[in-house]
């Protein structure tokens, strides 16, 4: 650790830690970032650039860093981590990126020599030929070389989300943010103060600019302020938290690194995504220094001046004892003073401004400390082998001289950090005085304070804060801020210096992250891309993950000069969220893996588990798909067994997931007649009816069984997945279309567990279980229901079936569900009762020709298409969808209609989703479309018929009965010959059903 340590730094502990970079171990201090730790060890070369693989070092000291991106090997191999913000800890293992075989010798740097090929928009011009090269050469090559780091491995995040509702959010815990917070202490406003660093203070920690506040040194003042805030009841501080997104309605997103400076505990959440809803947002997020483009302005050793000062003041590391400083503004004197305070001295101070424009105080200080001073001069470029060694200075007589220096600190001025402000849709304007864009008109309740609002002068700060927060009616604060530098900011416009190109290697960069040069900008404009948004995309300027934080305004400056326009006329590109990269893990939070989607279970779920059920997801429900009799039984075997047993004796299904809606009111009958196609007027009380619900387009929306208790009271069942939609549909019509109807609805899906028992021996089982009920066919005919008392609860049994067999549906309170289910099994044992799952349910209903909404129908099917004309109440005045059923398109004869299909060769199996066609073979190469007649909607091997049965929607299907057609197969061109038949395969006379 030979780089000097600033012993006056209050933010770094003396505790030494060991870190590893590219396999070598280094010492650092607790509190260091990776960047400060590496600088402390004189490591300048950190990585290789994106396109040209040029050597790159640490350019900044914060979130704006475009160069120093590293891979953290011990954190799930996390790539593209900014070394300037990631805090080091004992044992952190870091690796450089985008180089092979090593950082110092990278084969990829050949791209730099080939750079003429990679000029602006090269990807629009290259890779066009020869034919076949794309798939075999270009794509594999690009895939291999694209990107910087390597993707994470074996990563299972435990990120969480935290919602906040506050009155005021303060973004930034620097001087402006802290002054605003102090004003709000112990007020009735609930305030959240968010700071990206692990310390409050911002510029007070990062520079030497402020000497004292209210007579206290800055460290003491920060500590006092933090204590006051923590003591208050109304302000909460979030540190290590970066606000990344500013959405509409004052909704902001911030990301907290909960293991900043610590090794991640894999059992804890490493990130918290804060979702903040606030009434007012105070943006006090400061400014970002920008660079100046010159020849080789990307060499390791070039570091922004204020970042250099931040390393000294905030991290206690002096990256170099004798840096050269290159500026176009008044702020850099602060860095000079910081260095002199540590007995270091810049080797040159190069100021592009005219001598008379440079502050007297600066000139005197430089002379007094004997610092070589180059007024009205600029850096022409720098050179060196993987680091700065020589700096070339052009004076006002256009003469170039060189000096030896290992670091060069440019400062091109400051950009108010307007990123979040513009995300909030606030408008910005160009300010000639600070030579940058600053906030103008807020779109939301947004207040900008301090340098983000373009106010770089401390003397005006309190006045600004008091004025802008006066609407909150809180007391004014007027602390005395004593500074170490002259407070009035001055700057001269300078975006790029004149370059005397000396080699092909030499480049002047405008975007370090994406390797965009100033030459690329000029070339793009020459090629016609003179609109800033087009130019951005053509060159990829400011499209890197740093979003051009230190360079985007510079590119506007250069473009404005080429186009001979004002910058305000050129305009800005759009700032988009997030402000800094957010991991998908943070966005997803806990909605991953076992919590990806909420799960619903029926009251007898555990019984299913105990009995080897294999589950399938039906919406959010976990439904038994089939029950494995033994470990080696396949799904096909289980389903065939369950189906046969149900038709032979009896089977039972957990149908609790079916939607259930209670409908009551004096107009309930009229409502039901309007909602469903069926007529309910003549329906007798205590009977039930299979019913269809249509959309206004006449297409089938849902189906179910309606139980009529009386004309004023109904219970409707819906499909499992359709329950919420049907309930909402009914409510919507009640509240918007028919508010005159006096009808109320309650969803009672969860209030009744449902068992569907069916099979020829069902009646015998039911008689054993419910001894008080007469199950005789005459007393309890098909499509009737009875209510009865079961352990002091009201239960309901309905005679209905979805299998085509004699069947009953039992509705019981969930508290007695398991008990009753087990009782049924106890008695059912003697009758060979089998539990069956949804797959068997589908097979059995297909044998009987019953449709499933969503399987046979797809939102384009009318009742007529599936031969459900009989379900339409012909004499009804109206129902939803009625008008649509008489449209010319819905009455066409050649609409797709429901048919049954069986293979001519009974040993063949037809797959669901396959096409019904007229041709026996498909051509090897399809040159003209093959006429499509329809598709297979359901297909099963029927154990009861011992061959495949299918249902299909086929054009004009009703007229095709008995016709021979073909069905495609997933593989091969030979189609399966089939016959179109009636879709009811078993018991078309309903003898079993009504027995």
């Amino acid at each position: 650790m030979s780089a000097l340590k600033n012993k006056n730094c209050n933010y770094i502990s003396n505790k030494e830690i060991k870190i590893t970079f590219d396999g070598r171990s280094y010492s650092a201090y607790e509190g260091d970032t990776i960047a400060s730790a590496l600088l402390r060890n004189n490591i300048r070369l950190i990585g290789r650039s994106f396109k040209y693989h040029r050597p790159r070092g640490i350019y900044t000291c914060g979130i704006e860093e475009p160069n120093a991106l590293v891979q953290i090997l011990n954190e799930h191999n996390e790539p593209n981590t900014r070394a300037t913000i990631k805090r080091a800890y004992e044992g952190i293992n870091i690796c450089s990126q985008n180089r092979w075989p090593s950082l110092s010798f990278d084969i990829g740097s050949i791209n730099n020599i080939l750079s003429p090929i990679f000029s602006a928009g090269f990807y629009y011009k290259t890779f066009m030929g020869p034919k076949g090269f794309w798939k075999k050469i270009y794509e594999p090559l690009i895939r291999r070389t694209a990107g910087l780091g390597k993707p994470p491995k074996n990563f299972r995040s435990k990120s969480i989300h935290q919602n906040h509702n506050v009155d005021i959010l303060i973004v930034g815990g620097g001087l402006s943010g802290l002054l605003a917070a102090r004003k709000l202490i112990d007020t009735d406003k609930q305030v959240l103060l968010v700071e990206q660093d692990s310390f409050l203070g911002g510029i007070l920690n990062n520079s030497n600019k402020v000497k004292k506040i209210d007579g206290k040194n800055t460290f003491e003042w920060i500590q006092e302020t933090e204590k006051l805030i923590l003591k208050s009841n109304n302000i909460k501080i979030l540190k290590n938290t970066l606000v990344t997104t500013y959405n509409f309605t004052n909704h902001l997103i911030a990301l907290e690194d909960k293991f900043s400076g610590k090794k991640i505990d894999i059992n804890k959440s490493e990130l918290t995504l804060h979702k903040i809803r606030t009434t007012h947002t105070i943006l006090a997020n400061g400014h970002i220094e920008r660079f100046i483009s010159f020849r080789n302005n990307d060499l390791p050793g070039v570091m922004l001046a204020s970042s250099f000062e931040k390393y000294i003041e905030r991290y206690g590391v002096v990256p170099d004892e004798k840096p050269a400083i290159f500026t176009n503004n008044s702020s850099t004197i602060s860095l000079v003073k910081s260095l002199i305070n540590l007995n270091c001295k810049p080797c040159a101070y190069i100021d592009s401004r005219k001598k008379e424009d440079i502050e007297d105080e600066t000139k005197e200080y430089l002379i007094k400390n004997n610092i070589p001073f180059y007024p009205e001069s600029e850096v022409e470029g720098c050179e060196g082998n993987k680091k700065v060694e020589k700096v070339f200075i052009r004076n006002n007589s256009n003469k170039i001289s060189s000096i030896n220096s290992s670091m060069l600190c440019p400062s091109g001025g400051f950009n108010p950090d307007i990123h979040l402000f513009t995300q909030s849709k606030g408008l910005v304007k160009w300010d000639e005085k600070i030579n940058s864009f600053k906030p103008d008109t807020a779109f939301q309740n947004t207040i900008t304070l301090g340098s983000v609002s373009g106010n770089y002068e401390f003397k005006n700060l309190c006045e600004e804060i008091n004025k802008k927060l006066s609407f909150l009616k809180v007391k004014d604060l007027n602390p005395e801020i004593e500074t170490n530098i002259r407070d009035d900011f001055s700057i001269e416009e300078l975006w790029e210096t004149k370059t005397d190109k000396t080699s092909k290697w030499a480049k002047s960069f405008i975007d370090l992250h994406n390797d965009v040069t100033t030459k690329d900008l000029k070339q793009a404009i020459n090629e016609g891309y003179d609109r800033i948004e087009h130019l951005k995309r053509y060159t990829t300027n400011s499209m890197g993950t740093d979003q051009g934080k230190i360079s985007s305004i510079n590119s506007l400056g250069i473009v404005s000069k080429i186009l001979n326009k004002k910058i305000s006329e050129v305009g800005t590109t759009t700032y988009r969220p997030p402000y800094a990269p957010l991991s998908f893990a943070a966005i997803a939070g806990r909605s991953t893996y076992e919590y990806y989607d909420p799960e619903r279970k029926t009251p007898i779920h555990n019984w299913h588990i105990k009995n080897n059920a294999v589950f399938e997801d039906v919406g959010q429900w976990k439904r038994p798909w089939y029950f494995k009799k033994h470990e080696t039984e396949t799904m096909h075997q289980a389903v065939q067994r369950e189906s046969k047993q149900t038709r032979r004796s009896a089977g039972i299904l957990d149908g609790s997931t079916l939607g259930k809606i209670e409908i009551k009111g004096k107009d309930a009958l009229e409502f039901m007649n309007l909602m469903y196609t069926n007529a309910f007027t003549k329906m007798k009380p205590m009977t039930s009816r299979y019913a269809l619900m249509l959309g206004e387009d006449g297409m089938i929306m849902d189906d179910g069984i309606i139980c009529k208790i009386n004309d004023k009271h109904f219970i409707a069942t819906t499909t499992s997945g359709g329950a919420p939609k049907v309930f909402a549909h009914m409510e919507e019509f009640l509240q918007t279309e028919w508010p005159h109807l006096q009808v109320y609805l309650n969803s009672i899906t969860e209030q009744f567990t449902t068992f569907n028992i069916s099979g020829p021996r069902t009646r015998e089982i039911m008689r054993k279980v419910f001894t008080d009920i007469d199950f005789n066919n005459e007393k309890f005919p098909f499509m009737t229901f009875k209510t009865f008392n079961y352990k002091n609860t009201e239960a309901r049994i309905m005679r209905a079936s979805f299998t085509g067999e004699l069947g009953y549906e039992i509705y019981i309170s969930p508290q007695y569900a398991l008990e009753l289910w087990e009782l049924i099994f106890k008695h059912g044992k003697d009758f060979d009762l089998v539990p069956y799952g949804t797959e068997t349910m589908h097979l059995l209903r297909a044998e009987k020709g019953y449709v499933v909404i969503g399987q046979e129908t797809d939102g384009t099917v009318t009742p007529i298409d599936i031969n459900f004309n009989w379900m339409i109440g012909k004499k009804k005045k109206d129902f939803i969808g009625k008008r649509s059923l008489t449209r010319s398109d819905t009455v066409r004869d050649d609409r797709k209609q429901l048919v049954g299909i069986i293979p001519l060769n009974k040993s063949q199996f037809i797959e669901e989703g396959q096409h019904v066609v007229e041709c026996e073979n498909l051509p090897n190469k399809i040159k003209t479309p093959v006429e499509y007649l329809g598709h297979i909607s359901s297909s099963y091997h029927s154990p009861n018929l011992n061959h495949c049965i299918s249902m299909a929607m086929v054009k004009g299907g009703n007229k095709l009965m008995g016709k021979k057609l073909f069905v495609s197969t997933p593989k091969g061109t030979k189609n399966i010959p089939v016959e179109i038949v009636n879709p009811v395969f078993i018991d078309p006379e309903n003898k079993r059903l009504t027995s």
Binding site: Y595, K601, K664, G665, S813
Partner: protein, 173 residues
């Protein structure tokens, strides 16, 4: 009653409450019928709740009320109340006792904890005592009732396992 978790200033207990969901027009006749059955006047303001030592009575929306029994009642009695209410054509009462699960949430950090699962603004000034809301918690539809120092949260029983797992998962992270 099952203690689910107690840590970091949050205590959550699963309760065996019972519930009736009532719909009606909220006019005089409705109030009289309901008052006769349960001796408690239905709240008239949306999202307001009334309580006594055995139940809370909340108005969920312009035509919907929930009656949650905090002290276990004879289930026969609840069914009888439902039956009596349903004698009136202009009222629909449904038994929600065993198709729902109930959680009591206490502790000084209860708001912060619940705000890991819901964006709902739980601050006193936005969600005062004796009010209720229907909102998403852990991405499922829940009712939340605020009573002095505690919340009562109910959701469909089918989500019980998922909801409990989410609560326990968060306290451990």
């Amino acid at each position: 009653m099952t203690k689910l978790l107690s840590a970091d200033g949050v205590d959550i207990t699963q309760k065996n409450f019972q519930q009736i969901l009532i719909r009606g027009d909220g006019k005089d006749q409705f109030n009289q019928v309901v008052n006769k059955e349960i001796s408690l006047q239905p709240p008239s303001k949306n999202l307001e709740l009334k309580t006594n030592d055995k139940c809370i009575f909340a108005k969920n929306s312009f035509d919907q009320w929930t009656l949650v029994y905090l002290v276990e009642q004879d289930y026969k009695e609840i069914l009888k109340i439902i039956s009596n209410l349903n004698l009136n054509d202009e009222i629909l009462a449904s038994d929600y006792s065993y198709g729902q699960v109930y959680f009591e949430v206490l502790g000084k950090n209860k708001n912060e904890f619940l705000n890991k699962l819901t964006q709902f603004d739980l601050r006193d000034k936005k969600f005062p005592d004796f009010s209720m809301a229907q909102t998403l918690i852990a991405r499922i539809d829940c009712y939340i009732y605020k009573l002095n120092e505690k919340y009562i949260i109910t959701c469909n029983k089918s989500y019980e396992d998922y909801f409990k797992k989410r609560l326990i998962d968060l306290i451990n992270l």
